[in-house]
């Protein structure tokens, strides 16, 4: 008789053995993750947020997780208690033809509708209040930055400060920033998880994003939409510095090489790039990068 058949004749109470095995697996997984957590310093960008916009998005995320848990916990409880109590062999009430009950049905049409209405109201409000196109309510003039996603690098243009910077976005701390974003390459997505939600960067189109940094530091930025073979190398950093440091950074950058339309064309060729800054002369680079795709007039 094969080993499998012997096994299947074992008379261990089936459900308890299964429950034990499931608990054992879950603890093993939890242990593994705890081990990983202890093994180093990890930042959860979506929770350890550093920007006004990202902070509000985090609260919304936590609120919706709680709301989801509010529904899931009772359902999980019912799932396993019903499975245990009504398993064949356990003595319990058996009513095979009881298949409708207006009271229960109104409950589980009603409660989800109520919860969804709450979340829908929150959604309506936050879809407008956290609209990336909505400027931050700050009476100071937003710092204007033009972002061009190129093949496998980011170009940041500061028209008012006459500075161009590659793969590094330096911003004054606690200052509202307004970003106009386009792409001179396949579609990308501009995302700095710790500061704000993402927005697509598309050729021939200009999208807007408003964000700020609430404290000094360096934050990870990336393209979160596939745009070619080396898109995973399209990372950049956002540095939030004091106002004075920002001014010095601008003056130093303006000592650098001149950034003209030709230098843009060279930079636009596919390939990575090290962070470097230039003195921006040609203010129309951003608009030309869009008009290039318009082919005549719109």
């Amino acid at each position: 008789m094969s080993m499998l058949d012997k096994l299947s004749r074992l008379k261990v109470p089936e459900l308890s053995r299964r429950a034990f095995a499931a608990i054992c697996a879950l603890t093993a997984l939890a242990l593994l993750i705890a081990l990983w957590l202890a093994s180093g310093q990890h930042t959860f960008d979506l929770f350890q947020t550093r920007g006004q916009i990202a902070n509000r998005e985090r609260t919304l995320l936590i609120f919706s997780m709680l709301l989801a848990a509010l529904v899931l916990v009772p359902v999980y409880y019912m799932l396993y208690t019903f499975a245990w109590r009504y398993k064949t062999g356990h003595d319990h009430k058996y009513s095979p033809n009881w298949d409708t009950d207006k009271k229960y049905e109104t409950i589980w049409w009603g409660i989800p509708i109520a919860i969804i209405t709450v979340l829908a109201a929150v959604t309506w409000v936050t879809s407008h209040s956290l609209d990336p196109y909505k400027p931050l309510n700050d009476d100071r003039q937003h710092l204007k930055v033009q972002v061009i996603a190129l093949q496998y690098k980011w170009l940041f243009l500061y028209p008012d400060q006459e500075v161009a910077s590659v793969n590094k976005l330096v911003i004054p701390n606690k200052w509202p920033i307004e970003l106009d974003i386009t792409s001179d390459a396949p579609m990308n997505s501009f995302w700095v998880p710790q500061l704000s939600g993402q927005i697509y960067a598309m050729p021939g189109m200009s999208t807007k994003l408003h964000l700020d940094a609430q404290q000094r530091g360096t934050f990870k930025g990336m393209s979160s939409n596939i745009s070619g073979a080396d898109f995973s190398k399209m990372n950049f950093t956002v540095e939030s510095v004091g106002i004075e440091d920002f001014k010095t950074w601008v003056t130093n950058a303006k000592q650098g090489g001149h950034f003209t339309a030709d230098s843009y064309t060279k930079l636009a060729k596919p390939g990575g790039a090290q962070p470097v800054t230039y003195h921006l002369h040609d203010k129309s680079i951003y608009d030309n990068a869009i008009m290039k795709y318009m082919g005549g007039h719109q």
Partner: protein, 120 residues
């Protein structure tokens, strides 16, 4: 289903078509047309819908009563779903195209206020 029915359907479609073409031919010729652009398009659209109904009744024999009613119900359901997809797409794309326009034109457009995009 008689030849008389087909002929009446044909004549009605013919007249609807001719009216539409004459209207547009007149509008684009030197005299121009009494109706404004928006009205003209509305008239053409209604003429087209009338012709769809006429051809549906006389050629496809769609009618609300009895067995042929089933094919009409199916068609109406599909038309509603098609309208949702086409209408939804045009609404979404119109909104997206507007918000993708480069430069500052967006600031002055009236939609600006509705979408609460206010610059200081």
């Amino acid at each position: 289903m008689t030849s008389k029915a087909y002929l009446t359907g044909f004549m009605m479609s013919l007249s609807l078509t001719v009216t539409a073409f004459i209207l547009v031919y007149g509008a684009t010729s030197v005299g121009g047309s009494p109706l404004s652009q928006g009205w003209l398009i509305a008239v053409i659209a209604s003429l087209a819908v009338c012709q769809l109904v006429v051809q549906g009744m006389y050629f496809l024999h769609l009618s609300s009563k009895g067995k042929p009613g089933r094919s009409l119900q199916i068609m109406l359901f599909v038309l509603v779903m098609a309208a949702i997809v086409v209408g939804g797409s045009i609404w979404v794309m119109h909104n997206l195209n507007y918000r993708m326009m480069p430069g500052e034109q967006k600031v002055t457009e009236t939609i600006q206020d509705k979408e609460n995009i206010h610059h200081h």
